[in-house]
Symmetry: D2
Subunit: 133 residues, 4 copies
């Protein structure tokens, strides 16, 4: 996500109760979701036993990314619930890909992208929890 | 979802611990997600204050639908987490659309599709809980 | 696509030059795209040599379906170009799946869904050509 | 797209007649599609008269991006047809957004992202034409 776009988005959009959101944390989370969707899309074509997990994970990360980009049409509890789903999916896909990371560079990098996305979603979740308290 | 396709899918696919799944419940949930994605896609173009919620809901329902269709690359806890996110999103979008159901037939039908999807996801969740116990 | 939703959509939406569109043809095309996206999503998980074609075809049919549902933000030439891409993709995926239709019921049904989607997109294309002339 | 991932992808994947593809051109095109999907997703929430075009463009760019990432399940003519559709959509969306670029930074940046994506798809198309000759 381009930072100028992110700034424009932050200043122009209605933010439906998300005004206090730490934009740097959200930008990092959007980038991690985008990278994970791409890595999983590549990895899914390898026809290894992680393929279908990668298809599912690419779909979930794409939906998560677009929902954050929209910054509206969302309440904090719904966002938390989506982050939980994305975290669970990334963890599972990471485990599946890690299992043959030694044999495939694509799987190894996909496992890394899943971990990065899982971590970024957890930080986003933490930032939202702090915002609410 | 065509029932012949569903049967073929059930018999040919590896099912990763989902062998006991009630296929009729899952088929109903797939259909409800597909209908909700379509209704939300239409409703999002009306430029009313539910538009962005509808974009988010269409994305989540589409990802949920495809994940069920794949019937693999999934554990029960991850599926439960995605169902929770889909239920939360459908409820919020339903509330947003219901608010102007009197003024727009599209919003009224979108709210109905969101409710049907929310209900179908809750039944899917119940079926999975029973399966696990 | 529910026909009541289709009627509401036709009457409420701005139609950007598509007012003359034969709604029955478009509804049939939307339904065929939805069915093809689902069939291809199932078929892609079989790890046969049609799998990646099915992933690509599911994506294209989903984008095509949502673009028709929106009925705006579109000119006739852009719609024609998307229909051409969807027709080309469905034909290729159909050929790939047909190659092992004897060995897999899922592939056989996926090939049928691809053919139906290709035909519906060609009828949509014809209807648009007549509309323009 | 991470260049290490791109290298791994290029070396591990079957390439179905795309072995001669200039990977730098494809990587640039993947990046431009990803950026355009994101910009259009943000811009679509502004409820200006480009909103629906942006929804359509985000969908098409996302499908185009994932199809290139898969590097399989594809013939050159199908890829060309998809590139044509993506070029047509980006041009239309760019024109719609450019019309109020003075009033909205998001629209101005979205128009830039659409132009960059259109250009990258045309370069990809040229590279494929040269490859075929």
């Amino acid at each position: 996500m381009d930072s100028m776009m992110m700034d424009a988005m932050a200043s122009e959009m209605k933010t439906s109760g998300m005004e206090m959101m730490d934009m740097a944390v959200m930008q990092a989370c959007i980038d991690a979701c985008a990278a994970c969707e791409q890595a999983c899309t590549v990895c899914s074509t390898q026809m290894m036993d992680c393929s279908v997990a990668c298809m599912n994970c690419a779909d979930m990360c794409g939906a998560m990314m677009r929902t954050m980009l929209r910054m509206q049409g969302m309440t904090a509890p719904v966002m938390m619930s989506m982050l939980d789903a994305c975290i669970a999916m990334c963890r599972m896909c990471m485990d599946d890909c890690q299992a043959h990371a030694e044999h495939s560079d694509v799987c190894r990098m996909c496992a890394q992208a899943c971990r990065a996305c899982m971590d970024a979603c957890m930080e986003m979740r933490d930032a939202m929890t702090k915002m609410a308290s």
